[in-house]
Subunit: 384 residues, 2 copies
């Protein structure tokens, strides 16, 4: 069987997880040919895990230029995502980049321009798009049979992290190293799914609380209000300090309501359009008739293996990706808007002023605290 | 059996409902001795429903001064609540006032001052406080065993109303006649319960949408962000345009989480304080252990009859009220803060500037639309 020759840049928590997925035999069209990490301890781990046929580099740049790979998987701190993706694309490699696409949209826009000008495959690790529940929500909302979006409320506070987590990497949870907190690290999935299912809002006002639950300088608690181009509104609530957290997404449409909770999707389907009913009903307290069903969401949830297999499939057979790399900017736009509106203390319209966002971010980076490196790799199973 | 001699001022939707409750024999210590309404058709209904022993007036003032009552139940448009309550108290009558306490806190503060200076009983119709589920939530949150409040999210969008509802009264859903929309008419219960269970926030930013789902000039869709004195945050989402709506209250505490939905209260109780766990856990992805139980909320939910019986009980036996009248200002403070922050486009701190609120309200009243009177009384069963 033909395989892509994959180089993996970064062997931290998630890089390790991806290597293990590949070693478990879940990605039959992928062969790891090279790995890069700046930490000797991680290179050593990779050597022992992957054997002598896989070449180990210190720098991603060396791996990209080595000629050993036709494709790379980029699993490094967020700031370097666009930089390494651009370099790899320009060296004729296919790129699968971890989320988020980057830290600020200006940088990601450059990456997207390079990707659009290239004939290489550019994908992003939105593994939660492989969840049949979210696929069904995407179909139901975008499919049009439920009419217009009216409201979306997502409480996604089940990203609990301990102080030990934040102490585990010198780049983690700093403006300079990571560029943000829960919005940049944990929520890129949710922000991508939100825009994938409901579209992008046009106005955002967030209230971000920095170091509220942890000794960190970035946000670990966010409440955001959203307005969509058609007038629909939304809320997005997240935190790494709530235990037990909640993951409940409610979407109200013209023809009813969808609720995702505990990985079950419930559809409340109205017999007729609420908009029509409202205007024609005779009684003041009448309500449109409604049928409640559980949406069938059986099917495989292949997670990262699914994204990697689709990446290899596009390269080898031209089949569909799980998420086009250029779509990464959409969720990031939402995250940048949340940060910026919170920093400015007033709502912002989308797309945000990229230069203003960058200068506000840089202000924070210039005071970013120096954290001591603690070398730990956590088992990430079930945390993404 | 001794009975209070109750005069009922206002025989619209809710006044009719209260008279029916009393006629059903649910309030054994209450005798209706007089009724007032400005509409001949409602006086006629009262005459035929109550018989010739009950005296019917056109004006509340006549009823108050008649000497026929020792107590009054005030069920008129909101603006008149403080005015009539003050008059009744000053004439030595006990007062049970419908919610909201009034339209603006300045007016309600005057009413509270009169009530405090009087030796008469002053109560407010917060019938939802008689719901065993909310009583349990109040006990659990205020009791202290779950530690500090961290977050509250209430989606209460099950106040669906048709256009016919809004067309049913000339005062309804106008700035001049009602002083607001869903916040003033439907949500006083929820805002009272929110402050009763969680305490009052100190900062509010709401996004009120006026005439979004109905042909009305006041708000029928609200999303509010709240901050509490201890740093806890919250959201409150309401609408009269969502079908089917949701009524889900989630409260995150230091020792776990409470969820109220479908009239069931679920307690997620942690083995230890999350705050302590966060700082001492060794793993990055560890989570405190949690036990999930359904809270026992069996017991009577006597609704308005419960409030009226407690009112009579206080007068006759000195027993406890369901809600002291002077507490009505608390939920109204929250509602005024939501309106004001939305009108100004920036967060407000509590207590709000009462004069600023009033002048902003008066601006809106001065352009208030003239609605044609449509005489309809809807059956309100199950709508409060």
């Amino acid at each position: 069987m033909e395989k892509i020759k994959l180089g993996i840049i970064g062997v931290g928590n998630m890089g390790t997880c991806h290597i293990e997925t590949i070693l478990e035999g879940k990605t039959t069209e992928i062969a790891i040919t090279a790995v890069a990490d700046r930490r000797e301890s991680r290179r050593e781990w990779a050597r022992s895990a992957l054997g002598k046929d896989v070449v180990i580099f210190e720098e991603g740049e060396e791996l990209i230029k080595s000629g050993l790979c036709d494709s790379v998987l980029i699993v490094v701190p967020h700031y370097q995502h666009p930089e390494l993706s651009i370099m790899a694309l320009q060296h004729g490699l296919n790129v699968l980049c971890e989320k988020p696409a980057g830290v600020y949209t200006k940088q990601v826009r450059e990456m997207n321009d390079v990707a659009k000008a290239s004939d290489k495959v550019f994908a992003i690790m939105f593994n939660q798009r492989t969840n049949p529940a979210f696929q069904k929500l995407h179909e139901l909302v975008q499919g049009g049979t439920l009419g217009q979006l009216k409201r979306v409320s997502w409480i996604v506070t089940d990203w609990y992290r301990t102080q030990a987590y934040y102490d585990s990497g010198s780049w983690r949870a700093t403006w300079k190293g990571e560029g943000g907190g829960v919005l940049l690290n944990q929520c890129p999935h949710n922000l991508d799914l939100l825009q994938w299912i409901c579209g992008l809002p046009c106005k955002v006002q967030a209230f971000c609380h920095e170091g509220k639950w942890h000794d960190i300088e970035v946000e670990d608690d966010v409440t955001a209000y959203l307005e969509f181009p058609n007038g629909a509104t939304g809320t997005f609530i997240t935190s790494t300090g709530d235990a037990p957290g909640t993951n409940r997404l409610e979407i109200t449409m013209e023809y009813g309501k969808l609720v995702y909770e505990n990985d079950v999707v419930t559809l409340h389907r109205l017999e007729q359009s609420e908009r029509e009913f409202c205007k024609t009903a005779k009684g003041g307290f009448d309500k449109p008739k409604c049928e409640v069903t559980t949406v069938d969401t059986t099917g495989e949830y292949p997670q990262h293996a699914g994204v990697m297999n689709a990446f290899a499939g596009r390269i080898l057979h031209g089949t569909a990706l799980i998420a086009e790399g250029v779509e990464g900017i959409r969720g990031l736009t939402l995250s940048n808007a949340m940060h910026l509106s919170s920093w400015l203390g007033h709502p912002v319209t989308l797309p945000v002023d990229e230069n203003l966002f960058l200068s506000e971010l840089q202000k924070r980076c210039s005071h970013s605290r120096e954290k001591q490196e603690v070398e730990v790799v956590f088992d990430t199973k079930g945390t993404y």
